[in-house]
């Protein structure tokens, strides 16, 4: 069964500082990987996704993530955090087999706080 671990429940960074959010997955092969962001009272918004090719993926809002097969990781990064980035971030894994069911498995999330 696929699973996702986000080891950091809560992270605080200063505005302008760099950010890295960790994500580790468990899957029998190379899965499809996603990062979503959830602002308070809002639904989830897709930041980026990886399914093949270049292991460094660029997303919206200046975010990027790097897939490392040897470490089963898909960490999210941003070189300079803005106060508006404060939110909850979820990593998710999806199956690569074709079929009618395409269930995403989400991690427990990392809450990002940005100090001014």
């Amino acid at each position: 069964a696929q699973s996702v671990t986000q080891p950091d429940i809560h992270i605080t960074v200063s505005e302008g500082a760099s950010l890295e959010l960790r994500c580790n997955y468990s899957y029998g092969a190379t899965p499809y990987l996603f990062w979503y962001v959830q602002s308070p009272g809002q639904g989830l918004q897709l930041l980026l996704k990886y399914f093949s090719g270049d292991t460094l993926v660029q997303g919206i809002k200046g975010f990027e993530a790097e897939f490392k097969r040897s470490q089963s990781s898909f960490n999210l990064r941003k070189p300079s955090v803005h106060w508006s980035d404060a939110a909850e971030y979820f990593c998710a894994v999806g199956p690569t087999y074709t079929g009618t069911a395409s269930k995403l498995t989400f991690g427990t999330g990392t809450r990002l706080q940005v100090t001014l």
């Binding site: 996702v4 639904g43 989830l44 918004q45 990886y50 399914f51 690569t96 995403l104 427990t108 999330g109």
Partner: protein, 118 residues
Amino acid sequence: EAGVAQSPRYKIIEKRQSVAFWCNPISGHATLYWYQQILGQGPKLLIQFQNNGVVDDSQLPKDRFSAERLKGVDSTLKIQPAKLEDSAVYLCASSSSPWAGTGADTQYFGPGTRLTVL
């Protein structure tokens, strides 16, 4: 383009009462998902529809939860009777194909309905 709409945004009920949530997906999206997000956890898929057919309801507590998607557009999720542990945010999402988990598509989420069961 209008996003996924959900109502109500908030609902407070007492245990053993019934409640229903409504979702209107993005126009033309064939696949609709209902997720349960308990505080401090990631979303958990309850049920997935492709058009008006169910393709995955393996995590839906069928003794109390039911969902339907008539005419392959809007959907309702019902809980009857509610328990304290049903307190959560219920998220609806839609995508234009059933292959969202393969990276070939993206799931678009609504704002959710926050349910509090007292």
